[in-house]
Symmetry: C2
Subunit: 362 residues, 2 copies
Amino acid sequence: MSRFHAIYHVRSDARSIEARAQAIAVEQSVEMPLSAIEDQSILDEIVGKVEAISDLGSGTFAVRIALARATAGNDAGQLINMLFGNTSLQEDAVLQDAEFPDDVVAAFGGPNTGLAGLRDRAGAGERALTCSALKPQGLSPARLADLAARFACGGIDYIKDDHGLADQSYSPFAARCEAVAKALRESGAHARYVPSLTGDLDALRAQIAAAKSAGIDTVMVQPMIMGLSNFSRLVAENRDLAFFAHPTLAGAARIAPPFLFGKVFRMLGADALVFPNHGGRFGYTPETCRAIAGTALAEWHGLKPAVPVPAGGMTIHRVAEMLDFYGSEVMLLIGGALLEARERLTQETAAFVETVKGYRYG
Amino acid sequence: MSRFHAIYHVRSDARSIEARAQAIAVEQSVEMPLSAIEDQSILDEIVGKVEAISDLGSGTFAVRIALARATAGNDAGQLINMLFGNTSLQEDAVLQDAEFPDDVVAAFGGPNTGLAGLRDRAGAGERALTCSALKPQGLSPARLADLAARFACGGIDYIKDDHGLADQSYSPFAARCEAVAKALRESGAHARYVPSLTGDLDALRAQIAAAKSAGIDTVMVQPMIMGLSNFSRLVAENRDLAFFAHPTLAGAARIAPPFLFGKVFRMLGADALVFPNHGGRFGYTPETCRAIAGTALAEWHGLKPAVPVPAGGMTIHRVAEMLDFYGSEVMLLIGGALLEARERLTQETAAFVETVKGYRYG
């Protein structure tokens, strides 16, 4: 019987943890009293099994539960449903990690291009990659294209949409792709535009078609808003595209970010993982950030590594510190702090790019 | 300039709350330093505005922020992105509520049938509705169909899939629909089968086609796993179907359940809202449950009321107490506790149904 394993961190007292762990195993599998199950094969093969409980101190326990691989099928949505669906409704449990059989990971397949592919596209060799963001929303396609050209002239590798940019009336998706792609071609620089996809699966496919028709080969998605099944489907349908995954709506604390971003998003096909860096606008700790990057890059079931993209209020002054912290297998994303330079946007971008290129790793 | 309004509950000290509220307003709109924005129209019309801050005591503040309606367009995923996308990554904030202009609510349209339609289908008059669940997963379509027939003979109104049932090898979706629908037809009883849809939008559409071909007119969906945009699309494409919404992966505490279920899911088209009742397997309080039911049923932009379906470890012994608590505009869902009766399943179901029908409201 093939199984996958979920690891939950559960707040509990020592006397209650065995019963609570067993309750999670039942909730995430058959959701009913075991006394009402007549089939021995279901009790043996489908009901979740508590395999280990360890005391992490401070009233938290790690609970390892084996779940039947058959319950998840080959659908990413159903996989997260079996891993955490109903237990997400309980305040005492965090989905900390999971282990999957090779065939589950292979069926999803991971990044199309990953770190090496994103470096190749940028002609970046072994160095860290650079990225900025088009914003604020409310600007027209022509204005966003102008910003993109100025980033490109500064030498930036990737220019992504702010994740608030969708298919709005003030900046329709297809018109934005055309305008930005044209501006980048005319700039003669190597920068690639990464538009943000939104909407239902039909809309996402139409946006991909519009992006491809504008010559774009890299897109950004919001896996927790579009639904993991749709993300996985888009990646499988577009093996020629690279995908940036944005963390929007991923929550702060109920699914551990290193697992959600570094394993799930990567397994489903994220080539680059945007996440909130420590010390910026968000509350992630250095330890969480290090774990996200480490997980995204680690050898894991033969998948290509995904590029960590720490972001959220970064500035040029932090480049050296971030490269010390993350090493060269990273994409540094500075958005608002470059835009603050206004008429000096190209120069400020060039300074950012040169700082990254000139950095000597210790 | 049309706006919608989000209300966040934010943990903060009194000295910091104004700056924190302003930071949320920026994060959920332009995501960049306002000093870098050159366009007065974007500052005036697109940037979020803090409209009110009130001290709720115990270090929590209610923050009301106006966001530009244009940023959300007409897409449900983009709406939740603008309401809570990046702020979901912060541990100090909960999305408590939101207010939408009439045209936003009207564009989504709400439940196809709602409470009255679900009562009509069951011939239930003004009484509370009854529901049970097919489980455990691992059973074959034939075995699930047998369970369904026995629930039906006991007089139950609706029989939903356990939300763990998907399109698995041991119980393929189409075969399950055929088998259960046939068993219910042959039972001669009025019960309706509510199969659970999973997968990407293509898979969801194929499952709806299979369900309709088996004569089924009510389905269950998992909005937070399928993605809100896809949920909304399916409802619009299938005005003849009733939709049960399951709360799986909706989290415990970061988006207030009365808002997420009673407003967002209802606005997008949920006719019935399954949620964890207090005093069962989940930790929701009576106050939260009362607020979910009240919100689902309240007059709101002219939408049909959605039926609250409190569930999660309910038993016949709680029927009177639950009807005292919720009144008659409710669907009571008892799953495992009926299945525990095993060979007496039909009689136990009949006892449940009779208790609901015989209850006299105070």
